[in-house]
């Protein structure tokens, strides 16, 4: 019987709690290294750590793969993940929706801000050719998309948004080591408030470590993670714009 209130990993048999993990330690390859890896995993609270693979990486580094047994269980029934409630439409539906409900072109400005030079995310959403068989926003006849590229300052992004009278801002943050993306993302929303623009813009962030919950914490309207395609983002923007026509905020 599958008890969703106590979920543990499944390895070889039901509820055995078996997990696999891999990591490197800065120690020379050998039996001592394997013992160090075992002890480290035991310290993490996992039982029966077993080194199933160890490899000399050179430079006094060793890579390991271990199996171990987890004792903790989680209650699946209490898990809540915020999702965008508006339906995801396709390319044609989105353009038709804009014609029917907004009656003018939707203006979207996107950029990788701060020191981030990784445009792979913003390009997948915005570039004409798109990604994974979905056109990017530049291809949408009813959307005016401006992709500012990488290493854009928050001030420059806001200047552009004002210049083209944007409806939505997309910010991509791929580099997140030591959480460098957080001060940068929060500065943008606070600057938009200072400029009096926050209320009339749909502000969205995207990147591998972002999701809707994080976005809410940062003060964004939505946050899209890996695997997001242009129609996901465009559907959210146009529904949000229409919702705002009738709501208080």
């Amino acid at each position: 019987m599958n008890d969703l209130r106590h979920i543990r990993p499944y390895g070889d048999t039901w509820d055995d709690g078996k997990v696999q993990m891999s990591f490197s330690l800065p120690v020379p390859y050998g039996e001592e290294a394997k013992e160090a890896a075992r002890q480290y995993v035991a310290k993490l609270g996992l039982l029966e750590p077993q080194v199933v693979h160890a490899m000399d990486l050179g430079e006094e580094m060793t890579f390991f793969v271990l199996y171990a047994k987890a004792t903790h269980a989680i209650d699946f029934t209490t898990i809540k993940v915020p999702k965008v409630e508006s339906p995801v439409m396709d390319f044609y539906e989105i353009n038709q929706f804009i014609k029917d409900h907004i009656g003018r072109k939707v203006v979207v400005v996107g950029a990788c801000t701060g020191t981030d030079a990784h445009t792979v995310g913003i390009d997948a959403i915005m570039n004409m050719k798109g990604y994974a068989g979905e056109y990017g926003l530049e291809r949408y006849p009813e959307i005016d998309a401006y992709n500012m590229g990488s290493q854009v300052s928050n001030a420059a992004l806001i200047r552009k948004a004002k210049e083209v009278n944007a409806d939505a801002i997309l910010v991509s943050q791929v580099v997140t080591q030591k959480d460098v993306h957080l001060p940068n993302l929060t500065e943008l929303v606070d600057m938009l408030e200072a400029e009096g623009l926050r209320q009339r813009l749909v502000v969205i962030c995207g990147g591998p470590r972002l999701n809707h919950e994080v976005a809410l914490e940062l003060g964004y309207d939505a946050g899209f993670g890996s695997g997001t395609l242009a129609p996901d983002v465009a559907s959210f923007i146009v529904h949000e714009m229409v919702k705002r026509q009738t709501s208080k905020f």
């Binding site: 209490t78 809540k80 915020p82 999702k83 965008v84 409630e85 001030a155 806001i158 004002k162 959480d179 957080l182 001060p183 929060t186 500065e187 929303v189 606070d190 600057m191 408030e193 200072a194 400029e195 009096g196 623009l197 926050r198 209320q199 009339r200 470590r209 999701n211 809707h212 919950e213 994080v214 976005a215 809410l216 914490e217 940062l218 003060g219 964004y220 309207d221 939505a222 919702k243 709501s247 208080k248 905020f249």
Partner: protein
């Protein structure tokens, strides 16, 4: 009964709407909020509580680090996305929709019917805070507490708060790093307010003509004196400051309030040393600085050393909220 040192200072300033902001994530904002709520219960103050980020969830959504829960007494007013309020939270009577939609659903204002934990989620904008403050007071709150998010400063806007508490903690580094970051935040929060003459000049010459004009600047040389007043209605950035840095006459660069200042430590320092001034039209008073010597990332700091260094350099009261 011992009076709460935090509420005592709030009362000295006559503040009713207090915002708690931090120098970083995990600076201890929620701990301060919890302390204020617990002390308010002792003194029977009715509170309205909201967060501009995400509060009360057990594990931090960004780092996975456990966060303090928000435990409130019966009768507390609060705003949250109704769907995030689960059966493990305090029983609540939902009073009215706040008119705020979020990816977690509609935000409502509720009142706890018994004591217990709550979550605060869904509020994101200054406009949301303004609207909630009004509703909370109308529904009977004596005091409104706004919890900031990460290092966001928007909640200190004098439009929403008449008092500010700064939370500062070990999450940013060692004692000296924490003190330096705190001093930067204090400099911003206690920036000089322009005198009556300058304020009158701005009010006379600044003509808001719709929201599109935000961010515009007006400037003039003052009559007879070799000085220039520059008023910037939107964000004052390094770029703004550098534009006036080379001016041979002293410049009085005036921003709207501390939430509009995005000037780096170094640029600010050089600007002042060049004989110029950076001021604001209005700001909420800084009631005090609450320090949190523990860090989610490692060893706690020496609290006595941290307190002593802070107190030596900061003119407002400094507390260790864990005391």
């Amino acid at each position: 009964m011992n009076r709460s040192p935090l509420w005592e200072q709030i009362d000295i300033h006559g503040a009713c709407d207090v915002s708690i902001v931090g120098i970083s994530k995990h600076a201890g904002k929620t701990t301060v909020l919890g302390r204020l709520i617990a002390d308010a219960k002792e003194e029977r103050r009715c509170l309205g509580v909201a967060s501009i980020g995400l509060d009360g969830e057990r594990v931090d959504s960004l780092s996975g680090i456990p966060k303090p829960a928000i435990w409130v007494p019966e009768g507390t007013l609060f705003a949250t996305a109704i769907k995030s309020h689960g059966h493990n939270h305090a029983p609540v009577r939902w009073l009215e929709p706040a008119g705020i939609s979020s990816p977690l659903g509609e935000v409502w204002i509720g009142q706890t019917q018994e004591e217990g934990p709550i979550e605060l989620v869904g509020v994101r904008q200054l406009a949301h805070l303004l609207s909630l403050r009004k509703s909370f007071h109308e529904l009977g709150a004596d005091y409104v507490l706004f919890d900031g998010a990460l290092s966001r400063m928007i909640a200190v806007s004098p439009e929403v708060a008449d008092g500010v508490i700064l939370a500062s903690g070990a999450a940013v580094g060692n004692v000296d790093q924490v003190v330096r970051e705190t001093l930067d935040a204090v400099q911003k929060l206690t920036v000089a307010v322009a005198d009556a003459e300058v304020t009158a000049w701005v009010r006379k010459h600044w003509q808001p003509t719709g929201d599109v004009t935000n961010g515009a600047e007006i400037s003039a040389e003052t009559d007879g004196a070799p000085e220039r007043i520059v008023y910037c209605h939107g964000a004052v950035t390094d770029e703004t400051v550098l534009r006036w840095m080379g001016s041979s006459a002293p410049v009085w660069l005036i921003g709207r309030d501390p939430t509009c200042l995005f000037v780096s430590r170094e640029t600010w320092r050089v600007f002042l040393r060049a004989g110029h001034h950076l001021q604001v039209l209005d700001r909420a008073p800084l009631i005090g600085v609450a320090i949190n010597p523990s860090s989610p990332f490692g060893e706690p700091l020496d609290r006595h050393q941290l307190l002593a260094k802070m107190k030596a350099k900061i003119a407002v009261p400094v507390w260790d909220v864990m005391d």
